[in-house]
Symmetry: C2
Subunit: 221 residues, 2 copies
DNA sequence: TTCAAAATGTTGCAAGTGCAACATTGTTTT
DNA sequence: AAAACAATGTTGCACTTGCAACATTTTGAA
């Protein structure tokens, strides 16, 4: 996974940050970063800590949109499309830097090797995010919970080239990710277990079928 | 909407394309571009014509993922995550150029103004795509067809700052975009009409309510 | 203008899902 | 170790939706 300063040594990184006129910001556990970010068009980079981009709908229900850890990058403009529904919360003491988006293209270091590397990294990261979104859309467009699960398993299995899937989050968050009711998902997982398609041990899921092709949906296997 | 060569004059554009060693490719109406693209990690740029990125699921059902017209840019790596399910079809005679992704960062023009502009445009385009994906996810995570429609209307209405929405596609494609059954969507649109929330004339939808907040869902208005 | 094809509208029904309410298990905290 | 909390499992039921089958309207080509 590319990070913003990949292949840029510490000295050049410091130099770049100086030129971009950034300063580290500190946030204490359980505080909101939103005030610092609102209205800005900036790139955020977590130097250390852990924060979550969350969505609060009118029920007050919170959904995790993205998790931000050490070396992660986020783009504030991607949060502004809906008014007050988004927030970023430092779940632990977190330090980050904010880089003004415009200034990235206005500095006088354009001929420097590390500058091009920086832009390349940023592009790579953004591309990666689009890819992740595409995957999720792929899953969300499936019509049934079963197909959503299988599509998800499929993607995870392909990604790691293995029939063993280690869930990167708990079942509550998985249901959120698939945008389905947790209980209904639990029911469907049970069905898949009973029908012998999967095996679940904690966060490890084993796929017991050979190949899954979306809508044919295992029945013919 | 940013395009790949925005703020780059024709002379510099030609120069850039020469340096990047690109050649225009021609595709006749109703032919697939896939063979040209497969396995490559490239940026595609439509000089003129019209093509569609489609997904074919195991039923043979085709879904339009993206529409590509004059000046549009696409990234081939975003198509490779699923094996053979994607295709790009020229729906009209289409000319495009393919730019090798790596070569973008390896050319010796890094200090040139137009090069930085080019990268900036590319980044901007990629960011825009992530934004579009985020919007669709926002919609797809709604639990009911009604809420999906209202979320969609909401986004469209905010975007253009108007209560009039002009659908950019027909109802078949809208149902596809929302990932719901067309007939069920039709039914729900009828309900919304009858309940006095919207008015439909052809592709123009008028929102008759003041504000929509996701899950409170109009009932309290 | 006529005809064919595509898009849109309609409806009954079975299947799938969200929701609520609760039980059970696992994990922290004091 | 006990208490408090969080995560997971379970189930009945009402409601929403996908599906199929068909009617009607619009569009585009001959």
């Amino acid at each position: 996974m590319t990070t913003l300063f990949d292949s840029i040594n510490t000295r050049n990184r410091e130099k770049l940050l100086k030129i971009l006129e950034t300063h580290p910001l500190h946030f204490q556990k359980n505080t909101s970063l939103l005030s610092m970010i609102k209205g800005e068009n900036s790139i955020g980079f977590i130097t250390h800590g852990y924060a979550q981009i969350i969505k609060v709908d009118s029920n007050g229900t919170k959904t995790i949109i993205e998790e931000l850890m050490d070396e992660d990058t986020f783009h504030t403009s991607l949060l502004s499309f809906s008014k007050n529904e988004y927030d970023i919360i430092a779940k632990e003491d977190t330090e980050l830097i904010l880089i003004d988006y415009e200034s990235i293209f206005q500095i006088e270091e354009k001929n420097k090797e590390y500058y091009v590397q920086f832009i390349k990294n940023l592009l790579q990261i953004t591309l990666k995010k689009t890819e992740e979104r595409n995957e999720r859309i792929e899953i969300l467009t499936q019509k049934t919970i079963r197909n959503k699960l299988l599509e998800y398993f499929n993607i995870m299995s392909n990604k790691h080239g293995s029939k063993f899937i280690y869930l990167p989050f708990n079942f509550i968050d998985l249901a959120d990710y698939l945008a389905v009711d947790r209980c209904a998902m639990s029911r469907e997982l049970k069905n898949l277990k009973e029908e012998g398609f999967i095996e679940i041990k904690g966060k490890r899921i084993t796929l017991l079928y050979d190949k899954y092709s979306s809508s044919e949906n295992l029945i013919n296997i």
